[in-house]
């Protein structure tokens, strides 16, 4: 059996000094640790830890100063919060939280350091090698399609470009950050300046929100153009700046590992009826993970799934849930990792096929788009019918399979998610669902349906100044409708908009603060299946 490998992120002032003391004191401890010195344990991003595990570490140690002793006042507290979240994530992923350890080791505790390493090595030896270790495979994944830029232009109809500038003057990013422009990207590619397109930072700012494609008179597939160009750029080693340092993309990537057996159904309400085989499958998506990662910005993502299960049960449907459902691969693919999308598609489709369902319902529009649009391209059929929750709920309401017990007196506005609206053309079902709730009043924002403004972030790429500016704009618009609630049909819109509200932005909070709620959860609340917060 091979020896376990530990990556240790040690803070300069305490952990590292402690290790130093252990050395100068000639204490003996196992040689399994590889030390990376950081200035503070607060510098250790969750993404670093995940990447260490992805690249074959069996365990990760984060060591910092004792509480109260941080040389940067609160760095270690941040580290504690992050590790706590990541522990939950590792449990969900089935990787095991015992592979991650946070220890407070002061400069005087050489002995403690030695004993921690001894103990950790022992425990890891018992646990066995990490399931994440990938043999004979490079990371990050490379796109398989080595399409030439001209072929991309042809496939995405960009050769028809009239250079009219309708796309760029529509783009919410270009208006703020003119360097990133759909027209310029296509124009450069048309001029044969391939490298210029691929190394351009603007390539990673695109939200692939489809607004340009919606308006483009010749229907250039900008979303696909950007996605493929990103894959090409990644193959050259150029990547964008991922939000959260790529933590969320790393989680998706880890799921693509066939050895990973997730432990993801802990959220299912006790009395809920679920099945292993049946007609209808509920594809939960990454909600259990988001619930952990974003619990501090006031979004309880898992309630969406819990509400959905309860609604389905109420309609006398026991949905199939996949025990080892993987990420759909949407975000990875739009971040340029087409290969992992393919892997995920294969695994998910095999599991879906095995369950024997004919319909798949998703609460996330990105899963919806990917399962409905991308999977048939990647995996051979037959493919089940894919429905977004809004479509399925609208059907159930029409068939009177679900009913609302009383009035739900709320004024709401609706954020059209770009994947659901412009990408897939689903505009009316969510509205039908909302307006069928008695007492509920729907007021539209100024820009709605085809013209809706994106929530500002996509595929966990390039969250920054532009995103915040777009979010302020959108939330101000929502606020102007005087609605009590802003309904979204995409868990990610909710996350991104709530994130903006939880940050210090150069606007007054009363100008943008509005309660948000997912469409499925709204229905569950209106049916009294989920508690309405007061």
């Amino acid at each position: 059996m091979s020896e376990p490998k530990i990556v240790g992120f040690l803070c300069n002032w305490c952990g590292y000094a402690g290790a130093d003391l252990a050395g100068t004191s000639r204490l003996s401890y196992p040689t399994n640790i590889r030390i990376i010195r950081v200035m503070c344990s607060g510098r250790v991003e969750p993404a670093f830890i995940l990447e260490a595990l992805e690249r074959g570490a069996d365990g990760v140690l984060v060591a910092g100063c004792h509480p109260g002793d941080c040389h940067y006042r609160f760095g270690n507290q941040y580290a504690e919060k992050r590790v706590e979240k990541l522990t939950k994530i590792l449990d969900l992923l089935g990787v095991g939280s015992d592979r991650l350890r946070l220890e407070w080791i002061s400069a005087a505790e050489g002995e403690k350091f030695a004993s921690v390493i001894k103990d950790f090595t022992e425990k890891l030896r018992m646990a066995g090698p990490t399931p994440l270790k990938i043999q004979n495979k490079a990371q990050p994944a490379r796109p398989t399609k080595n399409e030439s830029i001209h072929a991309i232009l042809k496939r995405t109809k960009a050769l028809y470009c009239q250079e009219c500038g309708k796309c760029s003057s529509s783009c919410p990013i270009t208006r703020i950050y003119p360097v990133a422009s759909p027209r310029l990207a296509v124009e450069k590619a048309l001029m044969g300046l391939e490298q210029s397109v691929l190394v351009d930072k603007g390539l990673w700012s695109c939200l692939t929100c489809y607004l340009c494609r919606q308006r483009c008179p010749v229907d250039i597939e900008y979303d696909e153009f950007i996605r493929t160009c990103r894959a090409k750029a990644t193959a050259q080693g150029v990547t964008g700046d991922c939000a959260h340092e790529g933590t969320l993309l790393a989680i998706s990537r880890i799921m693509a590992n066939p050895k990973v057996k997730q432990n993801r159904l802990g959220w299912v309400p006790k009395k809920a009826k679920i099945a292993k085989k049946g007609e209808i499958l509920y594809f939960v998506g990454c909600l259990p993970y988001f619930d952990v990662v974003f619990d501090d910005i006031g979004v309880k993502n898992i309630e969406i799934a819990q509400g959905m299960i309860k609604i389905l049960n109420e309609a006398e449907i026991s949905p199939v849930l996949l025990e080892n459902e993987k990420c759909c691969g949407h975000d990875l693919s739009f971040a340029g990792d087409l290969e992992t999308l393919r892997e995920l598609a294969k695994m998910n489709m095999a599991a879906i096929k095995k369950s024997g369902v004919s319909k798949v319902v998703t609460t996330c529009p990105e899963c919806y788009r990917t399962l409905k649009l991308d999977y048939p391209e990647l995996v051979r059929g037959p493919h089940p019918e894919v429905l977004h929750a809004s479509e399925f709920l609208a059907e159930l309401i029409k068939e009177e399979k679900i009913k609302f017990p009383g009035k739900f007196d709320k004024k709401v506005s609706y954020q059209d998610p770009c994947r659901l609206g412009r990408h897939m053309g689903v505009y009316e079902p969510p509205r039908e669902v909302m307006t069928s709730i008695p007492g509920l009043e729907l007021v539209e924002m100024k820009r709605n349906r085809e013209n809706a403004l994106c929530c500002g972030v996509s595929a966990w790429m390039s969250c920054g100044r532009h995103s915040k500016q777009i979010q302020i704009e959108r939330l101000t618009e929502a606020k102007k409708t005087a609605a009590d609630l802003l309904i979204t049909a995409c868990p990610k819109c909710q996350i991104h908009l709530n994130c903006a509200m939880s940050e210090k932005l150069p606007v007054k909070s009363e100008q943008i603060e509005i309660e948000t709620c997912d469409l499925s959860l709204l229905v569950a609340r209106a049916m009294n299946l989920m508690p309405t917060p007061t």
Binding site: K157, Q162, E163, K166, S169, C216, V218, N451
Partner: protein, 436 residues
Amino acid sequence: MSEKTSVLVIGGGIAGMQASLDLGGRGFQVYLLEETPSIGGRMAQLDKTFPTMDCSICILAPKMIECFRHPNIKLLTYSELKEVSGSAGNFKVKILQKARCVDESKCTGCGVCAEHCPTEVPNEFDMGLGMRKAIYMPMPQAVPRCMTVDKDNCLKCRLCTKVCKAGAINLDQQPEEVELNVGAIVVATGFNQYNPSEIKEYGYGRHKNVLTALEFERWVCASGPVGGHLIRPSDGRIPKRIVFIQCVGSRSLKFGSPFCSSVCCMYATKEALIIREHDPHVEVFIFYNELRAFGKGFQEFVNRARDEWGVKYIRSRPGEIVEDPTTTSLTIWYDDTATREIKSLSDVDLVVLCSALVPRVGNKKLAGIMGVELDEFGFFKVRHPLLTPVDTNVAGIFACGYCQAPKDIPDSVAQASAAAARAAETIALTRGVEGA
């Protein structure tokens, strides 16, 4: 005159009229079929024509009258084609004359009946911007000069019957079917304007100050809904800034049509000049993609607009039109492709969308009746675009004007003469060697 020496012309626009006059002048009997109550067509709706800036109706009305008075031309207005059988030289044609409820031979067109009619509906001739009564004449210069009762909207109150001094009105008139025997058919049905409300970002139908080009023609026309005053539709204020957007629905693979409508660049320039003539203080912008000024005197016309009249040309297709809900003024977002800057033009009072001109919706039905082929867009297909530019796949049936491909007025007129010549040839052959 033998029936075999007669021709049916479908469509009473400038092309149909020209073909009729040519054929009539050669001594053939012409039946000019028109769907609406008056001949005149699209050209009658225009305020002026490019590049000569002639008043449109002023040069058209004499031709309309000529058609009406011509001994060899019989007008069949307010009528529809129902059936065609037979072949070149001997077509049997069934035509439905809708009930006009007014006797053409008695009506003087005095309009007293309309003054008394209690029902008002949007006037189709004014693109729905102005109103007309249920008994109406679509325009002052209508030919035949005769009122028409719109049966769908008529209340049958019979006030009109009481006030008509000529006793021309008979509300119980029934539609009539006419059977004709003709030697050839000329199709000249023109075009429809694409409804740009599908292009959501421009807000047509939502923003009051966004008009289509044909609506704008009526809007600034002296005989139009506001008497030719240049005002904003939303509140009647005098506009200070007017914008034209080219290629709305044309050259598009998604909405409207993939082809170029071929006249928009020029009529936008013409309309810009009309505006500057009305009020030299109004700023006019034309957002274009490629300025297609290809005809005789066209480029000079554009140059004059730019240099002498101060019309501002910007190469861009705007992304979005945003309305300020309090002032109803508009802001236009565009990418100035010359400088590569994203800009916005605010305080715009009026936006004119140069909407695609597309084949008529009715073409399919009409083609079915005649057994004629349409092309992929819905235009009447010609046998060979270079060598037989007006012949359809059915011998003896010819197509001219916009109904077979985009073109402007002079081209339509020229093509109408060509179709008339081809039709004459058909009849001459079938009747032997008598000569015209």
